[in-house]
Subunit: 177 residues, 2 copies
Amino acid sequence: MELKPVAKKFVLHWGEMGTTWGVNRTVAQIHALLFIAGRPMNADEITETLGVARSNVSMSLKELSNWNLIRSMPLMGDRRDHYETTTDVWELFRTVVRERKSREFDPTIEVLRDCLKSGDIASEDKAAQMRIKETLALMEALSSWASEMIRLEPETMMKVIKMGAKVQQFVRSKSDS
Amino acid sequence: MELKPVAKKFVLHWGEMGTTWGVNRTVAQIHALLFIAGRPMNADEITETLGVARSNVSMSLKELSNWNLIRSMPLMGDRRDHYETTTDVWELFRTVVRERKSREFDPTIEVLRDCLKSGDIASEDKAAQMRIKETLALMEALSSWASEMIRLEPETMMKVIKMGAKVQQFVRSKSDS
DNA sequence: TTTTTATTTCATTATTTACTGAAATTAAAG
DNA sequence: CTTTAATTTCAGTAAATAATGAAATAAAAA
């Protein structure tokens, strides 16, 4: 499939950003392609469109599965695997938050808990102990908060986001009562 | 400086996580070291403690400056540069959010705006155009929201986070009125 | 100023990560 | 079963990134 100019720009940019988002270029490009195409595509079609090796596509599709960003779709009269990603940006957002939380937060939360449980913690100076505790507390709070937020309906989540810092009124009214 | 067991574990772990957080091991280790030490350190001391090349420390300190994660501190009676990072996890959090937003969101927002302004956008199919619009809208919303949130006082922000999905009550009460 | 100390730069090397292509595997069709 | 198509694996290569060490620069002390 030959991409139209904007789609091409989108795919190439998504690919470049992939690196800062924690996946490699091909992985991000495939995701972008499936997202912009909005229909299931087979591996050969992806290969041809992106101009990368077939094996690279195979590995990248597996990586996208690990991220829960694609699912395989059987297509009537075609024995090849077809892959699609959600076209719902909210679902995409949720998935990315969930996955990044598990990669970027959970391992650290575990290590910090270990640190604090360890018999060696007492020999660290008080201020350092405190900082580890505070780091853990913040990460745990953010972690549960993210888990709760991604359970909200997109409609509701959008309202929360649009409201922005105005939530503080709610916070204040709650703590006053 | 010889690190105590927990501090060592903390520094090594932070270093490993650095990769998934978008900085390299040394950069993350130096940050962890300054955070756990809780006092200004000079480059030689950092070099010695971490066992890496002096030049690596120099480059990494510059990178940490680019992230606004350290500042240089003159110390009475010592002509060497001393560096410190905040020991306030909330300030750390804010900085990371601000910086990652500018690296991970802003460039994409710009490209998506370009895509939609481009004369070529009309030749894409309607559904694809829509998805680009929705992606941009979501990213813009998240971006402004993050900017607003990191302006809140730590106290307030913690309350908002602790409240979690309960904000939806506020959202509902607002849209009902 | 010259000397000493501190710091940075950058070419080189090492390490890690990404990608390719060929071979192996799996599985459907004949 | 045999053949053909689809997919995966993985050793080897390429590319990108990180780290080193020597040389250059900067800046304070003598």
